[in-house]
Amino acid sequence: MKTSLTINGTEHQLDADSRTTLLDALRNHLDLTGTKKGCDHGQCGACTLIVNGRRINSCLSLACMHDGDEITTIEGLGQPGNLSDLQDAFVKHDGFQCGYCTPGQICSATAMLQEVKDGWPSHVSADLTGDVDLTNAEISERMSGNLCRCAAYPNIVDAIRETAEGRK
């Protein structure tokens, strides 16, 4: 399947078997290994990246379905020496131990903060139509699709909250 993907602003041409997931296309065909494979079944969130502004599990999507799409991976959010606000905050708050889930956490949180800005409610929001108060409970609920088996959750939540507060 011939597929054109714009990844972190650069267009890539891919010619891979139709079975190739977006995750495997990045890691095995395009040498973009920042996006991690955990469960490969949409349960852990390690493979989270941003497609056309929305966070998705790249393991549960076929590369050929994304012809023409704009994809942002962890490599596109920041680089050493030029980290994004969230990446900085993860370092500051020690939001990881082994680091394997971190790219997925940061991609997920990046898109999640946009969802909050767009006024999307969550399961724990007191009011479906009111402003979102990004409490720890809100952050935990909104990030429940990203597991951290080292359980760095308190620090991850701190990093996300500080980033959100800094942008207010």
Binding site: L62, P121, N146
Partner: protein, 327 residues
């Protein structure tokens, strides 16, 4: 994953024709690709419908017409849904994760497989995966399984939250077949009981494409969705209740109740609602409603807890909607 051909549909006609010739539709793919990786499902051809023009939510006849490709995220965040059909937003937000809701579609959510661990485990017999091979779940781990609408061939539960709210709201499924004919099927008639053919879950024919789901004008009364699960987020319901209750001077003038996690399909029993309408809320009345709902429950060893759990969840939900002083 088994090899398959991939095509992208450029019209609903193109999509239904391909499906009539044996292709499977793929939209969000969050359930289908998961099952294909395990080779529980192995379609020889996928027809990608994501670029069809089925992404709109429009107000029609006082109600709402939701395109089949509207994502679960967009539907939950839609301001009309939040204000007029809050139970639907709540149910959607109680399901899956942020990432999955961004991919999962309205039509696809209805068509996610009714499933259990044994359906996923290809080393086990399963009447749904391989008709006639038997059901290992009956004597196995059944915590997630259904207690209503099951058969001796299958006890899997329908895991959707969205579909429970849709069932409460009297949603109607709009379906296009090969040739272009469009028909409407109420969600109440959309799912089939497992009986001896648990591999057939809906009334859809092979070429049938869901193009929209319509909701009638919002009914009066307070709405809520209450979900009980093993962890606080991103887990299937042990039991869930979608409810709407209208009160007038201390009397229940209208009530609707739908249940998730306990049925082989999104569950609704008109007799439960009939028992409540015209009555004054009381612990006895709520207990009677629970008795009617659970009269035919067939629990297994591991999920017998669902009978008292459903009873308590139903009563708590009714108390909430009837007002704290009511019972």
């Amino acid at each position: 994953m088994k090899p398959f051909d991939y095509i992208r549909a450029d019209s609903t006609t193109h999509a239904t024709r391909a499906a009539g010739q044996g292709a499977n539709f793929i939209a969000g793919g969050t359930n289908l690709l998961d099952l294909m990786k395990l080779e529980v499902m192995a379609p020889h051809k996928l027809v990608d419908i994501n670029r069809l023009d089925l992404h709109q939510i429009t107000e029609v006849d006082g109600g709402l017409r939701i395109g089949a490709l509207v994502s679960n995220s967009d539907l939950a965040a839609d301001m009309t849904v939040r204000k007029q059909y809050p139970v639907l937003s709540e149910a959607l937000l109680a399901g899956a994760s942020g990432q999955l809701r961004n991919k999962a579609t309205t039509g696809g959510n209805l068509l996610q497989r009714t499933r259990c661990y044994y359906f996923y485990d290809t080393a086990m017999p399963c009447n749904k995966r391989e008709p006639g091979t038997g059901c290992q779940a009956m004597e196995g781990a059944t915590r997630l399984h259904a207690i209503l609408g099951t058969s001796d061939a299958c006890i899997a539960s329908h895991p959707s939250d969205m579909a429970v709210a849709m069932r409460l709201l009297d949603a109607v499924v709009e379906i296009e077949s090969a040739g272009g004919a469009v028909r409407s099927v109420p969600l109440s008639e959309f799912y089939r009981l497992p009986g001896q053919t648990p591999h057939i879950e809906t009334v859809l024919e092979p070429s049938d494409l869901i193009i929209a789901v319509t909701l009638p004008a919002p009914a009066k009364g307070a709405q809520t969705y209450r979900k009980v699960r093993d962890r606080a987020s991103y887990a299937f319901a042990m039991v869930s209740v979608a409810a709407r209750v209208q009160m007038d001077e201390g009397t229940i003038t209208d009530a609707a109740l739908a249940f998730g996690g306990i049925g082989s399909q999104p569950w609704r029993n008109p007799a439960v609602e009939k028992a409540l309408i015209g009555q004054k809320p009381s612990p006895e009345l709520f207990a009677k409603a629970a008795d009617i709902l659970l009269a035919d429950a067939k629990p297994q060893k591991d999920n017998a807890f669902k009978v008292p759990l459903t009873r308590r969840t139903l009563i708590a939900t009714l108390k909430e909607l009837c007002g704290k002083d009511a019972a």
